[in-house]
């Protein structure tokens, strides 16, 4: 493509530079909401109402919005809940789906074909078609709501099929059976073979799945809102939502709360940008 544009005349060059300018304008537009939220999170309500664009605030900048938001939304507690739920769910999905995918791919019998087919079909089911019976069964019948572990198991269950699928693709294409046979001859049983030989070889896929699942669990709102009804169990999206309902007129504090909520994931993005982008693309292409 680059060669093509080099041979092109002035017209092609003009087209190229104007498309660059359009992209930059587009980029600025995309970023404006973030900048506005960050800017106004340091300002007092009156300054925000008079002019949300002003860089110079009459009443000055302060961190008071942050202090208030941090305390009132019980940030640390919500952050801890999010961390617990996301961490444990991810761990479970990775371990369980990798083992299922490995065993079934190698067994390759009718049962594994049927199970994979069921999992593939289940990916077409929208969450809305499951949430009502889910609440009926685990809420009304078994009274298991309002436990973080219930949410962990539900996250795990919903993420199983996609994760198992991506693992299956990788095992089929990239893990030679001869390695496993060698491990078997060396006296490893199946479990040892899996954890010492196969699982370490699946690292790239595991990285992709960790990223996809962490993002999905961390940001999920609907499922946690159905499971966790008590304030002290709220994850970050839930506590943000509840906080907004109470303080919606106090713009500065709200902006600070929104910044606080997105900071953890943005910090992660700063350090793992390449891995996250590659993981998301790999996940989309493979599924």
């Amino acid at each position: 493509m680059e060669q093509g544009s080099k041979v092109g005349g002035t017209k092609a060059k003009m087209l190229k530079s104007s498309s660059f300018i359009a992209t930059i304008i587009m980029f600025l537009l995309y970023m404006v909401p973030f900048v506005l939220v960050l800017l106004n999170s340091f300002k007092q309500k009156r300054d925000i109402i008079t002019n949300p664009f002003s860089v110079i605030a009459e009443k000055g900048y302060s961190l008071s919005n942050y202090i208030k938001a941090f305390e009132k939304m019980e940030f640390l507690k919500a952050f801890g809940n999010s961390l617990f739920v996301t961490g444990l769910s991810t761990l479970l999905v990775i371990a369980l789906s990798a083992m299922v995918a490995y065993y079934l791919t190698r067994a390759n019998n009718t049962f594994s074909k049927v199970l994979f087919a069921v999992m593939a079909a289940s990916m077409l089911i929208p969450f809305q078609a499951i949430m009502i019976p889910l609440v009926s069964i685990y809420g009304a019948k078994f009274h298991l709501l309002n436990h973080r572990l219930t949410l962990v198991f539900m996250h795990t269950g919903f993420a199983m099929s996609m994760s198992a699928f991506i693992y299956q693709g990788f095992i089929k294409s990239s893990i030679p059976i001869s390695l496993e046979e060698a491990a078997y001859l060396d006296g490893c049983n199946k479990l040892q073979t899996f954890f010492k030989v196969v699982f370490p070889l699946m690292k790239p896929t595991t990285a992709t799945l960790v990223i996809l699942n962490v993002l999905a669990f961390w940001n999920d709102y609907l499922l946690p809102s159905l499971v966790l009804g008590k304030k002290e169990l709220y994850t970050l999206p839930l506590s943000t939502y509840a906080f907004y309902g109470t303080y919606s007129a106090d713009y500065g504090v709200i902006m600070a709360a929104l910044v606080l909520t997105v900071i953890p994931i943005l910090v992660l993005y700063l350090f793992l940008q390449k891995q996250i982008i590659n993981g998301v693309v790999a996940g989309a292409v493979k599924s």
């Binding site: 002019n51 078609a129 019976p133 919903f158 198992a164 999206p237 993005y269 693309v281």
Partner: protein
């Protein structure tokens, strides 16, 4: 595989059973139980349910609000799927053309996807109801004179704008992967044959990008059809239900109006529609796929 049957059973229990069990009790059992629910008149509270046959399904077909919400969702889906993909494709095209700092731009455009829909909706609520109104007042631009979110015609477009902003960066990455995977030989051959930029795009690039289009359409369709978080926090379905997409509608039917049977019947109809669209689209994509 284990040599003896006993070992086989043991391995099966260790490897397959836990994952399979979680998957079944969280996904399969509720899904099947959902069919049973649609045959009852349960309100979510009472201990006893009565079997009412297919009357819930009849109620769904008579529920005009459900179908108008469904129609609204379809309109929203069509517009946003087209806009998301056109913008994502163009961004990807420019950002694989050697713009300085293109990795920075790619990372920036993708950022909204890292953040949950709840927060995105709140951010834009501030933008639409405060910032743009303020801009309207200070510049005199009539288009922003009142909040888009309280205007029955404009609130829908506000939701579209936020959706496009949210998803186009994601799809851009997939298109970029597609562009990077294009064979340089084929493009070179097209150039030597004297193809202009437009011809090259139409005859060579677009057909080779079909797999990327299929992935992106599948992704945007399933994401957009089920929109909930952003819808909830940006407009909450207001004003006057003009932005109430079908996911919120089903939620309210079951949990707010306490009509589990009808709510679940509507959710299943949603499932059938989504499954048909996705299946049809995958079939179409496979048919059109071109070997490079």
């Amino acid at each position: 595989m284990g040599r003896k049957t006993g070992e086989k059973v043991k391995n099966f229990c260790i490897f397959v059973l836990p994952g399979c069990l979680v998957f079944c009790i969280i996904v399969i059992v509720p899904f099947l139980y959902g069919f049973y629910l649609t045959l009852t008149n349960w309100d979510g509270v009472r201990k006893v349910k009565q079997i009412v046959g297919i009357s819930n399904y009849i109620a769904v077909f008579q529920d005009a609000d459900f179908w108008s919400s469904m129609g609204l969702t379809l309109k929203y889906v069509i517009i946003s799927v087209i806009l998301v993909n056109v913008i994502a494709f163009l961004l990807a095209y420019v950002l694989t053309n050697g713009l300085k700092g293109q990795n920075f731009f790619r990372a920036g455009f993708f950022t909204p996807n890292l953040i949950g829909g709840v927060v995105l909706g709140f951010i834009w609520q501030f933008v639409f109801s405060r910032v743009l109104v303020n801009l309207g007042a200070s510049t005199g631009w009539g288009i922003f004179s009142s909040s888009w979110l309280s205007n029955p015609n404009k609130a829908f477009w506000a939701l579209i704008i936020v959706t496009v902003w949210q998803l186009s960066g994601y799809m851009m990455l997939i298109y970029i992967a597609g562009f990077t995977g294009l064979s340089a030989d084929v493009l070179e051959a097209a150039r030597i044959d004297g193809a202009t930029g437009f011809q090259k795009m139409k005859r060579v690039i677009l057909p080779l990008m079909v797999p990327s289009f299929v992935i992106c359409l599948f992704f945007t369709l399933s994401r957009v059809f089920m929109v909930y978080d952003v819808n909830l926090t940006l407009t909450g379905g207001e004003p006057y239900g003009t932005t109430k997409m079908v996911a919120i509608y089903v939620y309210e039917k079951a949990f707010t109006a306490r009509n589990y049977g009808v709510g679940q019947a509507e959710a299943l109809i949603l499932f059938v529609i989504v499954a048909c669209i996705s299946g049809f689209q995958i079939y179409l994509g496979k048919k059109k796929e071109v070997e490079a």
